[in-house]
């Protein structure tokens, strides 16, 4: 399998252009689905390859539980630089598994706690909480999907803007956006090169909900002003950005997009544009990633089977 086993570890770089271009040039729904799919496949392939390299590394360690034949020179020859990368893959894979487990556990815990906090309230779809801190959340929970809004936030919005806010949160719940967000979060943990995709998806998911809300209330400007006002009243928590690199943050970009025309719905961008080329590059990267990891997995399986004494 040679160097092919390392390809899925670096191929996420091919998705960087689309992660950058998708938010301006694709419909937010298309962008979210495309980027999440690319991130999920690439993360899976990268983890499979990490695991394959780890097997070779672990077999070299004294006292390992693997069959002795797995540390034969023939097996080790399958992975270039097996001494170094094999051992480096062990902590890397452990870190990926631990971080993913921790993320999943915390995800479940926040949802459980939030639902428990609302347990005393009547089981309506919207929970309005008397609180002087402005916030609004979509709390997923199957049939117990809920929109949680504080009175402080509602008080600063006009009726049309309130409808926009509720429509936005319901769009998050209806399209199950938390699954996309969780998927890209796990993907970014599995391979740090996928982090730009995570940032992009958390933005495009918001844009998706914005566009859905704009269609539901039939007023793009109401959604824009609702977001703007909500951001201005809750500006107490500044985001950490590097001063020199401060591009406009996500909120002004969302408002600007809503003040412009609705994005066109296309399933795939035209090939000979920058975004089209970027999309094809990401698709090709994903395909090569899948083929390399499949090739590496099959090769490794055959080698290890040959090396296992019966």
């Amino acid at each position: 399998m040679g160097v092919f086993v390392f390809l899925p570890l670096v191929l996420p770089l091919t998705a960087w252009p689309i992660a950058r271009l998708a938010e301006q040039h694709l419909h937010p729904r298309t962008a979210t689905r495309l980027l999440t799919a690319v991130a999920a496949v690439m993360a899976l392939c990268s983890t499979v390859c990490l695991a394959l390299v780890m097997v070779v590394g672990t077999a070299q360690l004294p006292g390992n539980p693997l069959p002795d034949g797995w540390s034969d020179p023939e097996v080790r020859a399958a992975v270039p630089y097996d001494e170094v990368v094999g051992k480096a893959a062990i902590p890397a894979l452990c870190a990926v598994v631990a971080a993913s487990a921790r993320t999943l556990w915390r995800h479940g815990r926040v949802r459980r706690r939030a639902h428990r906090a609302l347990a005393g309230l009547p089981g309506t779809g919207v929970a309005v909480l008397p609180d002087d801190v402005p916030y609004a959340y979509a709390l997923p929970g199957g049939r117990r999907d809920r929109v949680v809004v504080s009175t402080a936030l509602l008080d600063c919005l006009e009726p049309g803007e309130r409808r926009a806010l509720f429509a936005h949160e319901r769009a998050h719940l209806a399209a199950r956006h938390h699954r996309y967000l969780l998927a890209v979060r796990l993907a970014a943990l599995a391979n740090p090169f996928l982090r730009p995709l995570r940032t992009a998806v958390s933005y495009t998911a918001e844009r998706w909900a914005d566009e859905a809300a704009a269609r539901a209330v039939g007023d793009r400007r109401a959604v824009a002003t609702a977001i703007g006002k909500a951001a201005l009243v809750s500006r107490g928590t500044p985001v950490a950005t590097l001063a020199g690199l401060a591009a406009p943050g996500p909120v002004p970009r969302r408002v600007a997009a809503l003040l412009g025309p609705a994005p066109a719905v296309r399933t795939w961008p035209p090939a000979f544009t920058s975004v089209g080329l970027a999309a094809w590059a990401a698709a090709a990267g994903t395909a090569v990633s899948a083929m390399s990891s499949a090739n590496a997995a099959v090769t490794m399986f055959l080698i290890l089977r040959a090396a296992t004494p019966f």
Binding site: T103, R106, H107, V110, R111, R113, A114, R116, A117, L118, A119, G120, L121, A127, V128, L129, P130, D131, V133, Y135, A136, Y137, A138, L139, V148, L153, L165, H168, E169, H172, H177, H178, L181, L182, R185, S202, A205, E206, R221, A224, T225, I227, G228, K229, A230, A231, L232, S234, R235, T237, V239, T241, A246, P248, G249, P250, V251, P252, V255, L259
Partner: protein
């Protein structure tokens, strides 16, 4: 064998909500005994006292001395209790954005200026 007469075990939040809603039905301050009676004698007196004390710690009820016992008043309703619990959840989770897609994220000063300009344009377009 299971004792069927025993009421099923209820979650703590549920009991707190029950006691609080009973207390809210009272005209003015109520004693723990009144609350117990109101709940249909389902709960032991000591349990009611425990729950009321817990609600007091959370700031959901207040009490004043009335003779040899306390008279309890709800500080707020169930929504207030839920709001306080929710705030605790939100404050405890540093990366809650990962789970609960917030309506808006934070703004830095440049963003704020830009946003005010955008909203200003939007309003001007509406008026004009």
């Amino acid at each position: 064998m299971r004792d069927d007469r025993r009421p099923r075990r209820r979650g703590q939040g549920e009991l707190e909500a029950l006691v609080l809603s009973a207390l809210r039905e009272a005209d003015g301050p109520a004693t723990a005994g009144w609350v117990q009676e109101r709940l249909g004698g389902d709960l032991a007196y000591t349990t009611v006292i425990t729950i009321l004390t817990r609600l007091l710690e959370k700031g959901a009820v207040s009490r004043e001395r009335a003779g040899r016992s306390f008279a309890w008043t709800p500080a707020s309703d169930q929504a207030g209790l839920a709001a306080r619990k929710m705030r605790k959840v939100l404050d405890a989770e540093s990366d809650r954005e990962a789970v609960l897609a917030s309506f808006v994220t934070g703004l830095d000063p440049d963003d704020e200026r830009l946003l005010r300009a955008l909203l200003g344009h939007a309003r001007a377009a509406e008026d004009g």
